[in-house]
Amino acid sequence: MPETPSPAHGYPGRLLVFEGLDGSGKSTQAALLGKWLAAQGYRVFATEWNSSELVSNVIRRGKKKGLLTPTTFSLLHATDFADRFERRILPPLRAGYLVLCDRYAYTAFVRDAARGCDPNWVRTIYSFAPRPDLAFYFRVAVGTTLHRKLASRQKINYYEAGMDLGLADEVEESYRRFQSRLKREYDRIASADRFTIIDSSRPVEEIQQTLRGHIRPILANFPTGAALTHDG
């Protein structure tokens, strides 16, 4: 099976993807890159894939009744992604924007694989999402992300800790084990799909310069236009 079932998109825009565990620093870097690109006059559209109202409502309902399974969880996120793709990603891509995606279909691939869904099945479901022009994987140790989370006093979310899988009774331990599964899957996909791997332990400024270096070839012959747009 090809690791990336979808062909290149062929639209006038460019699709740039930022992937990695929660707390890997990808959102900070995506935002900085977007600022820099917009300052140079490129048409930039930034979009994130976080829990939407649709997903959080259904998850709340499902959790109360204990109804969610790996399959419904997977399909529910696919629904949400399809909605975002059709509304937030495809139009700017067709309109010729540099589309910066903080998380893309790969987030689903790793999460669903960690929950035991068949990876080929998941890939096919997301085959409407084209292969990005450039994908960055922010590689980070699970211990670092947990430390960042605890230091900033963020609460660990039930599903983020994979508590539905019964890996451990204690939230932190479950988080460690589940996020380690995600990391293994990210490592595998990043190498199979030829992502640009970024070492998240480097200083912010250094990482940003690395990203800017990687993006230059993509900007060759790419027209500049209006300022930064964000889907807020």
Partner: protein, 248 residues
């Protein structure tokens, strides 16, 4: 029945055989499906089988989202197809599989085939739709109620007092005329059902006839699934077991 799916096995699916039987009744809106399911349920229960009936869009999980999406017409084709898939997966895992494991007969008023036909009519590829529903359990029997579009039209008018917006595929913008859109949409769906007929081993029943005649044919297909004589004419009266005194 065996717990076989059309492809991928969802995590958590029981490995062993399921004691119950999954029977699907498929067909277009107005083909008499719902009437037939009610008649069949009655017959099976009289014969002593526990029956759980199920249909599309009855899950607690996302039915509110589906209703909302239909009111606003805001979701794209892939999104809508996936939302229906969430609903189906929820019903399969939380209702159909447990009922089958407990030994009940599950009577499904429509199944993945209608969902696939609708998705393909709205632009999804057949390959995508097939793989999307590859986690679905293979039924023991799929009865397809085959009725001509003119018959469907009259039954639809009798049922809704008009033609239903969705069952006429008005969201596809095939035609601004409801009547014309109905025929174009039914043609698209029947093309998909025709393709699935062989692929998914549909047993077709001529549904242009009266419900009793349709029911008689359906019973002939259902009876072989049971050891007892479901659907066969019964001897008058109720047989009683011999009394303990007599057998002692």
């Amino acid at each position: 029945m065996t717990a076989r799916t059309y492809g991928t096995r969802p995590p958590g699916m029981p490995p062993g055989p399921l004691r119950g039987k999954l029977i699907v009744v498929e067909g277009a809106d107005g083909s008499g499906r719902t009437t037939e399911v009610a008649l069949l349920k009655e017959r099976l229960e009289i014969d002593g089988h526990a029956v759980v009936d199920t249909g599309l869009r009855r899950s607690d999980l996302v039915s509110a989202e589906i209703d909302r999406a239909k009111q606003g017409h805001t979701l794209g084709a892939s999104t809508m197809a996936l939302l229906y898939a969430v609903d189906f997966a929820d019903q399969m895992e939380n209702k159909i599989v447990p009922a089958l494991a407990a030994g009940s007969t599950v009577l499904a008023d429509r199944y993945i085939y209608t969902l696939m036909a609708r998705a393909v009519a709205r632009g999804a590829s057949r390959a995508w739709a097939q793989e999307l529903y590859a986690f679905a359990l293979r039924p023991e029997l799929v009865v397809f109620l085959d009725a001509r579009p003119e018959i469907l039209l009259h039954r639809s008018i009798a049922k809704y007092g008009s033609l239903d917006y969705w069952e006429s595929g008005m969201d596809l913008c095939l035609s601004r005329d409801l009547f014309e859109s109905f025929f174009l949409y039914q043609e698209l769906l029947s093309r998909e059902f025709a393709w699935m007929r062989g692929k998914y081993a549909f047993r077709s029943v001529d549904a242009n006839r009266a419900p009793e005649q349709v029911h008689e044919d359906v019973l002939k297909l259902v009876a072989p699934l049971y050891d007892g004589a479901t659907g066969a004419p019964k001897a008058a009266g109720v047989r009683r077991p011999a009394s303990p005194a007599a057998s002692a």
